[in-house]
Symmetry: C2
Subunit: 154 residues, 2 copies
DNA sequence: CGAAACAGGACCATTCAGGTCTTTAATTAG
DNA sequence: CTAATTAAAGACCTGAATGGTCCTGTTTCG
């Protein structure tokens, strides 16, 4: 479904939340703030730390803090860090597809990949912050939940 | 990795290849042309038929042909047909995220989803065709890479 | 009537993402 | 110096879903 991995989703949320805190924050604290299970938060933070998005401080009184401003982090870079390079298909950058094969679509896929990538690069984490629009959205949500039957599924 | 499902990939290739043939083409024939295993080709074609991308003719001498021009099919529509609506995250269109939860990013994701979607809607299957289009495409890529400011980050 | 080919499922299997746990190392507090 | 706290690193399990196969109709042509 061309969907984002949940880890990447978490990473964005965690970074944004982390940016709203003062000083260093422990992963249990972030877990509490975000609602994401603690071990998972820790895992994501380790990846983010390895890629230079956050700075870590070990030991007692340790924790994490942003390595730079949210405005300087693009959605694309976070996704790339967590999930690997954004590549819709196998045959990217002249690399041949899985099998033989006769797809012959050349670099056509590259156009798509580039387009998606630049789209996501143009969106900073700063622009993902809630803002005042939130209230409006929450109202909509409540309205939706009230009116429509939740076709949950399972 | 924000990757396209293989079925959607196949669908695009199949449609493009089908557009290059004359008359109706059987699924075994398309399998031979594309290199994709026949049962899978058949499955994809059934989905495409159900969504009106191809017209089918049953019985002996039957087969498939395009329902309309490749120029009238967007990459987005094909992906949506095969994989379902394009939605990077769970919380889209006011629907709340998985758990509780305090992500609070509200409709921020909608911006991204819309951006991706419109990007893919702007690319027709016609522009995915190989040949002379290839050079043009490469030019586009270079232009994109040159013009846009890469606020990479990592 | 029989062969060819689509229609529409059911169904299995493999992959991999998501998540948990354990151990180790670093840092600070007492 | 010792103990407590917390990140680092990685092994490992599980479950969902994608990818792929197959089977049983149904239609159409020869």
């Amino acid at each position: 479904m061309l969907k984002l991995s949940r880890l990447a989703d978490y990473a964005i949320v965690i970074l944004v939340k982390l940016g709203e805190q003062d000083g260093v924050v422990t992963s249990p604290a972030l877990a509490a703030i975000t609602g994401v299970p603690e071990p998972t938060v820790a895992k994501v933070l380790k990846v983010l730390s390895a890629h230079g998005f956050v700075l870590s401080q070990r030991g007692a009184k340790g924790g994490y803090r942003l390595a730079r401003s949210l405005a300087d982090m693009s959605v694309a870079s976070v996704i790339a860090a967590v999930d690997g390079q954004i590549a819709l298909t196998a045959c990217v950058g002249g690399r041949e597809c899985d099998t033989g094969l006769s797809c012959g679509l050349c670099g056509s896929w590259d156009v798509i990949n580039t387009a998606i990538r630049s789209t996501l690069e143009g969106i900073s984490l700063e622009s993902m912050r809630p803002k005042e629009a939130c209230s409006t959205v929450l109202t909509q949500i409540n309205k939706l939940n009230a009116t429509q039957t939740v076709r949950e599924g399972a």
